[in-house]
C-alpha cells in the first residue's frame, strides 16, 4: 500500500515535470488537499475551544436565567449589530478574493482582502469603544460595582469579557494571516495556480465570523 502511494507520487512529479509550463516555485511538490485538511483539523480544535466556553454559558444561563437576560439588556444592540454586519461583509470579501484569484485578477483579490482587513480593524475599534464604555460604567471583573452585583450578573459579564477578548485575539490573528497573504500575492508567491494559503487564511477568517454569529445573539440579544 505504502509502496503504491510513493509510486503514484513519483508519477505525479513526472507528470508535473512533463507539463513544464510553470515556474520552479510552482513545480515544488506540495499537497493542496492535505494542506486544506490540516487547516480544517485545526479549526475543529478551535470549535472545541470556544465550544467549552459556550458550555459554561449554557450551564450558567440555565442556573441564572433572570440575571443573564437582565445583564444582556445592558449591552448595546446597535454596536453589536454593526459589528455583526462588518464581519459578515468581510467574510464575503474574503470569499470573493478567492474567486478573484481564480479568475487571475490579483488586483481585485488584493482590493477585497484590503477591504476585509479594514473591516476587521473597524470591528476592533468598535469593540474598544464598547469595552471602554462598559469600564466607565464600572462593569469590569472585580470592580466595586461587580462585587455588589448578583452572582449571575457577575458570571454573565465575566463570560462576556472572556469570550469577546478571546474572539478579538482571533480577529487580530486572522488580520495578520490576511495581511501576510496579501504580501504573498504581491510577491507572486500566491497565484492563480497555487492559492491554498489564501484559502486557509480565509477559512480561519470565516471561523472567526462563525463564532461571532453565536456570540451576538447569546450576549446582545437575550431578552
Amino acid at each position: 500500500m505504502i509502496v503504491n502511494q510513493s509510486d503514484s507520487n513519483y508519477t505525479d512529479d513526472k507528470t508535473c515535470d512533463a507539463v513544464g509550463s510553470h515556474t520552479d516555485n510552482e513545480n515544488k511538490h506540495y499537497d493542496i488537499v492535505g494542506s486544506r485538511t490540516g487547516m480544517w483539523l485545526f479549526l475543529y480544535t478551535e470549535i472545541m475551544l470556544f465550544g467549552g466556553l459556550f458550555v459554561l454559558y449554557a450551564a450558567y444561563y440555565r442556573m441564572y436565567t433572570a440575571d443573564f437576560t437582565g445583564a444582556g439588556k445592558e449591552l448595546d444592540i446597535l454596536m453589536g449589530s454593526i459589528n455583526t454586519v462588518m464581519l459578515l461583509v468581510s467574510s464575503f470579501a474574503v470569499a470573493a478574493s478567492i474567486t478573484a484569484i481564480q479568475k487571475k485578477s490579483r488586483k481585485v483579490a488584493l482590493a477585497f482582502l484590503g477591504f476585509a482587513l479594514f473591516l476587521g480593524a473597524m470591528f476592533l475599534v468598535n469593540k474598544y469603544f464598547e469595552w471602554g464604555h462598559k469600564i466607565d460604567l464600572g462593569i469590569f471583573p472585580n470592580s466595586p460595582l461587580m462585587e455588589d452585583s448578583s452572582h449571575g450578573r457577575v458570571l454573565f459579564f465575566s463570560l462576556y469579557y472572556t469570550i469577546t477578548a478571546l474572539h478579538a485575539i482571533h480577529i487580530i490573528i486572522g488580520m495578520t494571516l490576511l495581511a501576510v497573504t496579501m504580501a504573498f500575492i504581491m510577491t507572486d508567491k500566491v497565484t492563480e495556480h497555487k492559492y491554498v494559503l489564501l484559502e486557509n487564511a480565509g477559512l480561519y477568517w470565516h471561523l472567526v465570523d462563525l463564532i461571532w454569529i453565536f456570540i451576538f445573539p447569546l450576549f446582545y440579544l437575550i431578552y
Binding site: D12, T15, C16, V19, H22, E26, H29, Y30, D31, I32, V33, R36, T37, W40, L41, Y44, I47, M48, G51, G52, F54, V55, A58, A59, Y61, R62, M63, T65, I77, S81, T84, V85, L88, V89, S91, F92, V94, A95, A96, I98, T99, Q102, E192, H193, K194, Y195, G202, L203, H206, L207, D209, L210, I213, F214, F216, P217, L218, L221, I222, Y223
Partner: protein, 100 residues
C-alpha cells in the same frame, strides 16, 4: 486525469461573485430577522429561536464561504463528527445541570 497534477490549483470550483453576494444578502436578512425576533417575548423559546437562526447563518457561511459544499467526504464527515461531539458535550452537561 487532472488529479495527477492536483498541486496546480486550476481545476478548482469557482463561485461567481453574484452567488457570493446572494449568500451575503441572505446572511444580512437573517441578522435583521434575529434582531427583530429577539425583541418579541416568547419566554424560554427566545434563546432557541436565536440559536436556530444562528445555526442557519453558520450553515450558509460553512457551505459557501468556506466551500464545505464542494469539499471531499473526509472534511464533510469530520466536520459533522466535531459538531456531533460538541453536542454530546453540551447534552451531557445539560443532563447534569437539569437533574442536579
Amino acid at each position: 486525469m487532472t488529479g495527477n497534477i492536483d498541486h496546480i490549483q486550476s481545476d478548482a470550483h469557482i463561485q461567481s461573485y453574484g452567488k457570493l453576494l446572494g449568500v451575503l444578502a441572505i446572511l444580512l436578512f437573517l441578522t435583521a430577522l434575529t434582531i427583530i425576533v429577539s425583541r418579541i417575548h416568547f419566554g424560554g423559546a427566545n434563546i432557541w429561536v436565536a440559536l436556530i437562526v444562528a445555526s442557519v447563518k453558520s450553515s450558509f457561511v460553512l457551505l459557501f464561504f468556506m466551500h464545505l459544499k464542494y469539499e471531499s467526504i473526509l472534511i464533510k464527515a469530520s466536520f459533522l463528527a466535531t459538531i456531533g461531539f460538541l453536542s454530546i458535550l453540551i447534552g451531557f452537561m445539560f443532563w447534569d445541570v437539569a437533574f442536579r
